[in-house]
């Protein structure tokens, strides 16, 4: 899992059924001290955890599908936690 900062929203009315109702954020990966780290990516947010400006924890790879209720969705990354503070 990695830390990232949400800085954008993707609007898509036509999606595959498996992703219906799921918000899509554009996330800038950040380092452990909060610096920009790598290229932005699109992250699904099936549980409506984050919004623009929030720092979040996201999961990548096949495991990202586990964030969905039935564990089945074609996503490469999902938001799983909202970060209050990294101490």
């Amino acid at each position: 899992m990695k830390l990232g900062k949400i800085f954008g929203v993707v609007w898509a009315s036509k999606k595959v059924d498996e992703m219906k109702g799921c918000r899509l954020h554009i996330v800038q990966p950040v380092s452990d001290i909060g610096d920009k780290n790598g290229t932005p990516l699109v992250v699904a947010d099936p549980q409506n955890i984050g919004s623009v400006g929030d720092t979040i924890v996201y999961v990548t790879s096949t495991d990202a599908a586990e964030a969905f209720e039935n564990g089945y969705a074609p996503v490469n990354a999902s938001v799983v936690q909202l970060v209050d503070e990294v101490a």
């Binding site: 800085f7 954008g8 929203v9 993707v10 609007w11 898509a12 009315s13 036509k14 999606k15 595959v16 059924d17 498996e18 992703m19 899509l24 554009i26 800038q28 920009k36 290229t39 932005p40 990516l41 699109v42 992250v43 699904a44 623009v52 400006g53 790879s61 096949t62 990202a64 599908a65 089945y72 969705a73 074609p74 996503v75 490469n76 990354a77």
Partner: protein, 91 residues
């Protein structure tokens, strides 16, 4: 998931039988503003995208997790047609 623009179609008569009936589109990867990057994907179309569409591509083994692509030998699928992208200052 990555952003891409559909730039063409790939047509073939001889193929793996699990690919029958699936539309293959040639897609140029872009950044979130739609600026083209150097890489491309041949992706299965799961949302009736057309040439010129700004789309979202899911790649790797996760690409098989749709009704259209399950149990098929594919590693890229178009999962959404993008209407709009809104970004805040990323600095």
């Amino acid at each position: 998931m990555i952003f891409a623009k559909v730039i063409g179609t790939v047509v073939s008569t001889q193929k793996d039988e699990n690919l029958n009936g699936k539309k293959m589109l040639l897609c140029r990867e872009t950044d979130h503003e739609g600026n083209p990057l150097s890489s491309y994907h041949v992706a299965v179309d799961a949302v009736q995208a057309g040439e010129g569409s700004f789309v979202l591509i899911t790649y790797g083994s996760s690409a098989r997790m749709t009704e259209t692509t399950k149990d098929a030998p594919i590693d890229a699928v178009i999962t959404a047609i993008i209407d709009d992208v809104q970004v805040e200052d990323n600095s």
